[in-house]
């Protein structure tokens, strides 16, 4: 149940994903791991793996035979620090947690207007027809609460999905960002997304 927090925390975390595009082979294991962990409805997914052309299913390499290249980009909710979905939600069903920066969705509050879907630059929200509300990745918050990591990272066979506190200088995620070239998706959105992609 979401409750607006009263305090400005003195020490907060910002959870983030670091996804290694060199290691991602586009196998979709993360998609299924997430689906099963979170009972995502049939026909929907919280997590998509795009290929370098931005397409989820019709994967194509770029270039002309035989000088072609391809890489894969898992994308889910980016838990943006300035999330457009939070701003447009009329019922506060979407809200950003102060303690760790996660953008959460309270389905009890959601009335299915789909403004969030319209506003999200990352296609992260889908519509759950079964309950008539929005649906999105919540960083496996129920696992984070137990000290575990999100299901996508757990099941990835090539260890391409990592997570951690981007504000903690000693965290693995920061060590990776310091040593590898990285980007965020659609930086021009201004949403300050928290998935950092290491070069393919």
């Amino acid at each position: 149940m979401s409750t607006a927090s009263d305090q400005i925390p003195t020490k907060s975390r910002q959870m983030a994903f670091v996804i290694d595009l060199r290691r991602c082979i586009g196998c979709d294991t993360c998609v299924l791991g997430c689906k099963v962990e979170n009972d995502v409805s049939s026909g929907k997914s919280r997590l998509k793996v795009l290929d370098s052309g931005g397409d989820a299913i019709d994967e194509r390499p770029r270039g002309t035979y035989p000088n072609i290249s391809q890489y894969w980009v898992p994308t889910m909710c980016h838990h943006c620090a300035d999330a457009p979905c939070v701003r447009v939600c009329p019922t506060t069903a979407l809200w950003r947690r102060d303690e760790d920066g996660l953008v959460m969705l309270d389905k009890d509050k959601c009335v299915g207007c789909r403004r969030c879907e319209e506003a999200c630059p990352y296609d992260a929200l889908s519509f759950d027809d079964d309950v008539g509300t929005a649906d999105k990745c919540n960083f496996c918050e129920h696992r984070i609460a137990q000290g575990q990591g999100p299901a996508c990272g757990l099941v990835c066979p090539t260890r391409a999905i990592l997570f951690g506190d981007i504000l903690d200088p000693d965290a693995t995620v920061n060590r990776l960002l310091a040593t590898r070239e990285h980007k965020i998706l659609r930086a021009s959105s201004g949403a300050k997304p928290q998935i950092y992609y290491l070069e393919p």
């Binding site: 149940m1 979401s2 409750t3 607006a4 927090s5 009263d6 305090q7 400005i8 795009l50 052309g53 931005g54 397409d55 035979y65 035989p66 000088n67 290249s69 994308t75 701003r87 447009v88 009329p90 019922t91 506060t92 102060d98 009890d108 509050k109 009335v111 299915g112 207007c113 789909r114 879907e117 319209e118 630059p121 990352y122 296609d123 519509f127 027809d129 008539g132 509300t133 070239e181 980007k183 998706l185 659609r186 930086a187 021009s188 992609y197 070069e199 393919p200």
Partner: protein
């Protein structure tokens, strides 16, 4: 530029909070003052006639933005205070005998419940549900009592009826007109009446008694502590408590007295600006132009409250951002969620989608072959698709509307593909580019 300005916000609903958020976001650096009659910070109003009545939620849960939000956005909030007058000439408002200068005045005074004005209107057992305190009173009554009479066949009345009925109360609804939910349905055809008559059947099936064409004459307290609702036809309905939901009146008195042009709402342009260039308004109290209508409209819907202030905020920092959103509403009763988008009046055709028996259907309205609005019962996917479609300026055909097996999802204009703004620096190219062997071609 704006750091020396002061924005005064009168009102304490969602529009007020949204104005704060949007103003700061777009770079307003000046002072922001919020003066609200409510006792608590801006909160969500829709749950008050729905889940909030269960008593399981706190007022903190109800808040639209946290207390921390107002601190972070550097807003000085004054709660429980009325603004008594506006002096437009001197750009001041007066509240609690204090005069406050403004550079920008944002009126988000919302609407108040329309009162019947009959004797007994003020009885504690007669609840006009508009604000959080009303909801607490109602919730308290609902814990211990068993008979409820509801006056009014609109959203408020019906939602409360559903909650009370499911909790085991005996519920009677008295409707002044001849049908429920005047915000829905139309006279276009029997299809147009589908939604109101569906809900009439649902309530009746749950054991709620509904009486039409009833006018209340008086509320009378009895010696046992009950309330008798006496109609003009001399019928008496006994209740432990009464809930009245007969519409809302926009709180425009402040504006009217100050000489701002109003007509059932403060008249504003597409940027939220009233007849006074320094005074803006939005939400339930504002009558604004809408791209889908010829005449300006005023709609009581939370959607306006959270979307319109964006245009007003843009205006005060010098950005032109006209308000352009197709309006939508919803109501939750029992296991049904009815959602409406756009407008039904003016339509020449109403198309039924899905089947009434299943309780999952929609009514789509067309004027000269173009979609003007739609209502859906338990078809949230269709509602969302239509809203997004209409908001993007797209439409669908009458055939598509009537074909329930066709998913409307594909009709939503797609976002641009997500990608990296700048390409990755490519790997060093192969030292000897490979050529295609012409002998490879097979015909």
């Amino acid at each position: 530029m704006t750091e020396h300005q002061r924005l005064v916000i009168v009102g304490g609903g969602q529009a007020a909070a949204q104005m704060i958020e949007s103003s700061r976001r777009l770079g307003f650096k000046g002072e922001i003052l919020l003066i609200s009659e409510e006792r608590i910070l801006p909160y969500l109003r829709p749950p008050l006639s729905k889940c909030y009545l269960t008593g399981r939620y706190t007022t903190d849960w109800l808040l639209y933005r946290s207390k921390g939000f107002y601190q972070q956005h550097e807003v000085a909030t004054t709660l429980g205070s009325r603004v008594d007058s506006i002096d437009r000439g001197r750009q001041m408002v007066e509240s609690l005998n204090t005069r406050i200068q403004y550079d920008w005045l944002f009126l988000a005074t919302g609407a108040r419940a329309r009162r019947l004005g009959v004797p007994g209107d003020d009885l504690p057992e007669v609840v006009y549900l508009r604000g959080v305190d009303d909801a607490h009173r109602l919730s308290n009554f609902a814990q211990s009592a068993s008979r409820a009479v509801i006056i009014g066949g609109g959203f408020i009345g019906l939602e409360v009826a559903a909650v009370l009925c499911q909790a085991g109360h005996r519920v009677t609804i008295l409707v002044a007109g001849d049908k429920l939910m005047s915000r829905f349905g139309s006279d276009t055809s029997s299809v147009g009446a589908a939604v109101p008559s569906f809900f009439q059947q649902v309530h009746t099936a749950h054991g709620v008694a509904i009486l039409f064409n009833v006018t209340v004459a008086e509320f009378r307290k009895t010696s046992s502590g009950a309330v008798d609702v006496v109609t003009e036809g001399h019928a008496v309905h006994s209740a432990d408590f009464v809930v009245v939901g007969v519409g809302a009146i926009p709180n425009v008195e402040l504006a009217v007295d100050a000489g701002i042009v109003c007509a059932d709402g403060i008249l504003v342009d597409e940027y939220g600006v009233s007849s006074d260039p320094r005074v803006l308004s939005a939400g339930d109290c504002a009558r604004h132009p809408n791209a889908w209508r010829a005449e300006p409209i005023r709609l009581e819907t939370v959607h306006n409250a959270v979307e319109q202030p964006r245009s007003a905020a843009a205006h005060i920092v010098g950005i032109r951002q006209p308000y352009r959103q197709i309006p939508w509403v919803w109501s939750d009763q029992y296991d049904y969620r009815v959602q409406g988008v756009g407008f039904a009046d003016g339509a020449d055709l109403a198309v039924l989608r899905g089947d009434l028996q299943s309780g999952r259907f929609g009514v789509l309205y067309f004027a000269k072959g173009a979609l003007t609005g739609a209502e859906f019962v338990n078809r949230p996917g269709d509602f969302g698709a239509c809203r997004r479609m209409m908001n993007a300026g797209a439409s669908l055909t009458v055939e598509q509307a009537g074909d329930a097996s066709l998913s409307l999802q594909a009709l939503i204009p797609r976002h641009a593909a997500v990608g990296f703004d700048e390409p990755w620096v490519p790997r060093p190219s192969r030292p000897h580019p490979v050529r295609l062997d012409p002998h490879e071609v097979h015909s």
